[in-house]
């Protein structure tokens, strides 16, 4: 394996509070040294005025295979991840069959290994067949390699089952991920419930639907003492509930999807189903609260919420169109453009939210540039100006409303286990 020397980059590693201009040497797929005058290597990369980051980690990705290959395959989804700068992803179990058996976990691992793009970590179902009735075999699934459990994108509706899942998960020290939503308060909802939904006559998803579930989840995590990761936080009330819970020492991590950090419900006036996401795009107040939550550490993780859907599914009436955006290839650009450029987050904080923290939330040995760690590295040009063009997506799905949008900041080099997977 050729050695690589990355020269003169701004090395940012939140896992060791590192932020300095230096060189980084990779040998045998391992980070060997960070410093100056590290000698020479087989391959050199000039990272002047670029950022050298631990490989980006996305813990909320739908890969859709098996069962929905018209949307995405493990190969296309992982290729898309590399294009977006992600070296590790964790995939949701909303496949068909669902990821609730050893064989399904191994199928995903095998396909990911054949694709040989980025690392794929499997999140298995909490309940058998993701039906929310009976626990899936968490012990066997953990042994097969599942790193966490969720029924997402569906919420864990039955409180009794959720309680048991949290209790049971403690034996294996694995996190339970929940998409907090009370379905009876959001049924048939298409967008955020507010003045815009009122004018458009579209069914609304009220913040109460998320906040009541968030409150319940936090309470259970507190009494049971399990590891809870709250997905898809989108409301001011949820952020406040999590802030207070963390203040009491509750063991919880939380995430927000990039789309919920800057787009408001006003965009639904276009009736473009590409804006139909769950949680829905809400008002500026909620966005501001989520950004504040990122700033003070209440929200740990930014995800792509990558939900690829074939165009024939999306190009239909709004109530029939599924939720979701194909996001993973543009998430970094959207985050830099909408969070770093306006001054909401600095680069070290952003990198903690899309690399170090998500890895820690799922206890993955990723998101670090520690000496001796596997060389998963993303080099970012923070100034790069580029245009979104979904026709060039590696993802099979082009369900994005952002075609033609100019973004600032992009991954220029992606290295996985010491091998260069992308260089642009």
């Amino acid at each position: 394996m050729p050695s690589i020397l990355i020269r003169n980059g701004r090395i940012i590693d939140p896992s060791q509070s590192l932020d300095e201009v230096a060189d980084l040497l990779i040998e045998d797929g391992i980070i060997r040294a960070i410093g100056t005058e590290l000698g020479t290597a087989d391959h050199e990369i000039d990272a002047t005025s670029q950022i050298v980051s631990p490989g980006l980690v996305d813990v909320h990705v739908q890969l859709r295979e098996p069962g929905f290959e018209e949307d995405e395959t493990i190969e296309s989804g992982t290729a898309a991840a590399i294009q977006g700068g992600f070296t590790s992803i964790a995939c949701l179990p909303n496949t068909s069959p669902t990821t609730d058996t050893q064989a399904q976990v191994q199928f995903i691992q095998q396909k990911a290994s054949q694709a040989d793009n980025c690392h794929v970590f499997v999140i298995a179902c909490v309940s058998k067949n993701r039906e929310g009735q009976e626990l899936a075999e968490m012990g066997i699934l953990t042994q097969a390699g599942a790193v966490a459990f969720t029924d997402a994108p569906n919420p864990l509706q039955k409180t009794d089952l959720f309680r048991r899942a949290l209790e049971y998960s403690r034996m294996f020290d694995v996190p339970i991920l929940d998409h907090p939503e009370i379905p009876e308060l959001s049924q048939s909802g298409i967008m955020h419930s507010g003045a815009v939904s009122m004018v458009l006559g579209l069914s609304g998803i009220h913040p109460d639907s998320e906040e009541l579930a968030t409150g319940r989840d936090l309470r259970l995590a507190e009494t049971i003492g399990a590891r809870l990761h709250l997905m898809d936080i989108s409301t001011e009330g949820s952020v406040e509930l999590i802030r207070r819970a963390k203040g009491r020492g509750v063991h919880v991590t939380s995430e927000v999807c990039i789309a919920n950090l800057y787009l408001t419900d006003e965009v639904m006036r276009s009736f473009d189903s590409n804006y139909k996401v769950n949680p829905p795009l809400r008002s500026q107040t909620h966005i501001d609260a989520c950004v504040a939550g990122l700033q003070d550490g209440t929200i740990d993780v930014i995800t792509s919420g990558h939900a690829p859907r074939a165009s024939e599914k999306k190009m239909t009436e709004l109530d029939r169109a599924p939720f979701g955006m194909s996001q993973i290839e543009i998430t970094l650009g959207l985050a830099i453009t909408n969070l770093v450029v306006p001054g909401h987050l600095d680069f070290p904080t952003l990198i903690s939210k899309i690399s170090t923290n998500p890895a820690q939330a799922l206890k993955l040995e990723k998101g670090t540039l520690a000496i001796g760690a596997a060389a998963d590295i993303t080099i970012i040009d923070p100034q790069a100006s580029w245009q979104v063009d979904s026709s060039t997506f590696a993802s099979r799905s082009t369900n994005t409303p952002f075609d033609g949008l100019t973004l600032t900041g992009r991954a220029t080099t992606v290295i996985v286990d010491g091998i260069v997977k992308l260089q642009r």
Partner: protein
């Protein structure tokens, strides 16, 4: 060149240069001028057809497709008659009897109909935004005949025309929409149209069906019909849209009629020249008692006739713009 009236026997004003719309999707997006253009054209066409009875040849050679993905009798027949009164051919399409039931998508269905050389599609659908989706995917004119609870622009215009005929102006009038505002496309189209023409609009009904947020749009919100009746020049009594509601928003029809039904006793509190309107179909004994519906203040049947006039105007105006080179 815009197409203008060619019937030598009738006197229809040319389409004004300010009218640039190929589609009629809602009244919210229209300017005051646009709304006045539809209104004045409708008034002219009503007169030129002897009260929507006689035929003209303004749309001769054109084909209008009625595409109703949700049940309708009155709006559908009103659009059909309007098209035929102006000399157009009509194509009737129903969701039940179509390829939609065989799994075809909305856009494919519309493209298929369009390939039959259709100049305009009249679209009713239960989902807001569906006519907008079609307008981005076909080349002919799209007229929204009701998209879920969002808009029903020709209903809004025919209500406005009916008031205009009786009063000569909308400015300064107080118009109350009573009942199920949340699920009513008629309410929304009326709100935008009436506000642009200077009326004061009140929405009145149970708190579960009338959002306070309407105040942000300059609309008065009330939950007491008795409180507002003495101030109203027009009461527009909406039907309860039971089919769109998941959890019934009030305890019983009896209680609804008790709080919001327009009856003889409430009429005693009203102005002497109050206009009683209803977009229909009316539920006698619920939102309106028979004596009020059939009484001297009721203009409900005028609304039906004006529906044809407004739809003639809408078809004429949108297809005239469609003739312009892109």
């Amino acid at each position: 060149m815009k197409v203008t009236a060619t019937d030598s026997a009738v006197n229809i004003s040319p389409v004004p240069d300010t009218w640039q719309r190929r589609h009629l999707l809602g009244l919210e997006e229209l300017s005051r001028d646009d709304i006045l253009t539809i209104l004045h054209t409708a008034v002219e066409l009503k007169a030129a057809t002897g009260g929507c009875k006689e035929k003209l040849s303004l749309l001769q050679g054109k084909t209008i497709a009625n595409m109703f993905f949700e049940n309708s009798t009155r709006t559908r027949n009103s659009f059909s008659l309007a098209a035929r009164r102006l000399g157009a051919d009509t194509v009737e399409f129903s969701a039940g009897s179509s390829s939609l039931s065989k799994g075809e998508t909305l856009i494919d269905t519309a493209k298929t109909i369009e390939a039959m050389n259709v100049d305009a599609m009249v679209v009713r659908h239960s989902t807001p935004g569906s006519p907008h989706l079609l307008s981005q995917n076909v080349n002919c004119s799209i007229l929204n005949a009701g998209d879920g609870p969002h808009e029903h622009p020709t209903q809004g215009m025919l209500d406005i025309m009916t008031i205009y005929e009786q009063r000569g102006t909308l400015a300064g009038l107080t118009v109350a929409m009573v009942g199920d505002i949340t699920y009513s496309r008629t309410a929304r189209s009326n709100i935008w149209g009436l506000k642009k023409l200077g009326a004061h609009v009140i929405v009145c009904g149970p708190a579960t069906l009338v959002s306070k947020a309407w105040e942000d749009f300059g609309v008065e919100v009330s939950h007491s019909l008795d409180d507002i009746i003495p101030r109203c020049d027009v009461l527009n009594l909406l039907r309860i849209q039971f089919e769109r509601q998941y959890t019934r928003p009030f305890p019983s029809v009896r209680e609804y009629a008790f709080l919001y039904g327009m009856n003889r006793k409430r009429m005693e509190q009203a102005k002497d020249d109050i206009l009683i309107m209803a977009p229909g179909p009316i539920n006698r004994g619920v939102e309106i008692t028979p004596d009020v519906a059939d009484g001297p203040h009721s203009v409900i049947l005028h609304q039906v006739t004006n529906g044809i006039a407004v739809r003639m105007a809408a078809l004429y105006l949108t297809t005239s713009t469609n003739q312009q080179p892109a």
